[in-house]
């Protein structure tokens, strides 16, 4: 019925196109999509049938998103296959060979049929990947340790503070080995490379700690879309549940991790929700230890947010009480 030539690039900056696209989304039951998310899409493709948009797919980074097909054009999945196939080819031409999709459970099979591999599924969503490198490739690179008590921490460390050190040190004292995963997403202020390096330098003295990048699987931007969800807090819950499930099903089981350490976060509702989700989903198989926040000697709260504020004003001497000497030295060098 359709062939490859029917797939055209859609420019959502065009008002008519955007309205066609939105109509199709709503008709296919995708109700939640914010304008911000639509703006972030790299490209969108669609199939028109006599002036009417009947199917579409979008790409955002290495994520395939917003697949919608009108019911009467589903015909045993051939349109779906064509759309996904097209998206994968576009990504390949951009040299992206590792693709992710986050989808409702009912579409999990359709993606698996196209060679996508399930990473984890919660009771609501499934997270799948396609291509190379796979999660197995990621795990194989992590050094295996033949010891009994293994723990893990996932941290952003933007930048690495005394609070982060305390968390790692506590875990290192209570376990035979600690895996520290660094959130691998480029964000404001400090690059992933810098954050990784600050943690490595700051934990050199601890002989039973491995610091590695968290890849696409731990607190990853791919597991954070909210488009098909009703409300923000519900979205947060789905995201955190998925993140915890991936950690449990893929990472912890492979490495034999029995405890996950997290920092107490009295000021951030989001982190609180996250910590709760970890407790709910990891326990009882994996212990979740919430470590209370430490203060400076003068009773000030140590937080990376504060440190970033001082760094922004260029007042590096003010951060000395919050960060290890190694971080301070690193930031001084970075500034030069």
């Amino acid at each position: 019925m359709f062939n490859q030539a029917n797939i055209t690039r859609l420019f959502l900056s065009n008002k008519k196109t955007l309205s066609d696209w939105k109509t199709l989304m709503l008709d296919s039951g995708i109700e939640r999509f914010s304008n911000e998310e639509v703006m972030l899409l790299d490209s969108t493709y669609g199939i028109y049938e006599e002036e009417r948009l009947v199917a579409t797919v979008s790409i955002s980074g290495s994520l395939v998103k917003y697949i919608a097909i009108l019911d009467e054009f589903r015909q045993e999945g051939s349109v779906f296959n064509r759309l996904v196939s097209h998206a994968l080819q576009e990504l390949a031409s951009e040299q992206v060979f590792h693709v992710f999709v986050l989808t409702k459970l009912k579409f999990q099979q359709s993606f698996e049929y196209l060679g996508f591999k399930l990473i984890a599924a919660t009771d609501q969503v499934a997270f799948l990947e396609y291509g190379i490198p796979t999660i197995e490739n990621f795990l194989e690179k992590i050094p295996q340790k033949n010891v009994t008590k293994k723990a893990s921490i996932v941290m952003n460390a933007n930048p690495f503070t005394k609070g982060h050190y305390h968390l790692i040190e506590t875990a290192a004292n209570e376990n035979d080995w600690v895996y520290v995963f660094v959130v691998e997403k480029e964000q404001d202020v400090f690059s992933t490379k810098d954050r990784l390096e600050m943690i490595r330098q700051g934990t050199k003295k601890l002989t039973n700690v491995t610091v590695i990048l968290g890849g696409d699987y731990m607190i990853s931007p791919f597991t954070f879309p909210m488009y098909f969800l009703r409300q923000n807090d519900e979205a947060t819950k789905v995201q955190t549940t998925l993140d915890a499930t991936i950690f449990k099903a893929s990472i912890a089981s492979y490495l034999g991790i029995s405890t996950r350490y997290v920092g107490e976060e009295p000021l951030s509702q989001m982190t609180e929700t996250y910590n709760q989700a970890l407790k709910e989903n990891l326990e009882p198989e994996i212990d979740v230890k919430i470590i209370p926040r430490i203060m400076t000697e003068t009773g000030k709260i140590i937080s990376a947010t504060n440190v970033r504020k001082h760094v922004a004003t260029g007042d590096l001497s003010a951060i000395l009480e919050f960060v290890p000497k190694t971080t301070y030295d690193y930031l001084v060098r970075l500034k030069k």
């Binding site: 296959n81 996904v84 196939s85 994968l88 390949a92 060979f97 060679g115 291509g131």
Partner: protein
């Protein structure tokens, strides 16, 4: 020949096969997905291995999603993927292999 760059060829449509080839450390690993794995899995792998051998490729990681492709299609898609990976352009194409 040594595979260093990831490349892909083919589609996921019926009667086609999508083959992704990437750097491999030790030997050939083939992750094959097919509706006809039971009947033709071995044959598909043999076509892939023969084609790789023709190019003297000994280390590679392959992901193959078969949608019922004929042997000649599998060979063609893999050849295309290899050429893309190695950056072989028109004139250098060793059509004889």
């Amino acid at each position: 020949m040594k595979i260093e760059n990831t490349a892909v060829a083919g589609t996921l449509e019926s009667s086609d096969v999508q083959i992704m080839i990437s750097e491999g450390k030790e030997g050939i690993t083939i992750d094959l997905e097919s509706q006809v794995l039971e009947q033709f899995g071995r044959q598909i792998k043999q076509v892939i291995l023969d084609t790789l051998t023709a190019y003297d490729i000994t280390d590679a990681q392959l992901k193959v999603v078969d949608k019922g492709a004929l042997d000649c299609v599998i060979k063609a898609r893999l050849t295309a993927a290899i050429h893309r990976s190695l950056g072989i352009q028109h004139k250098e194409t060793p059509w004889e292999v």
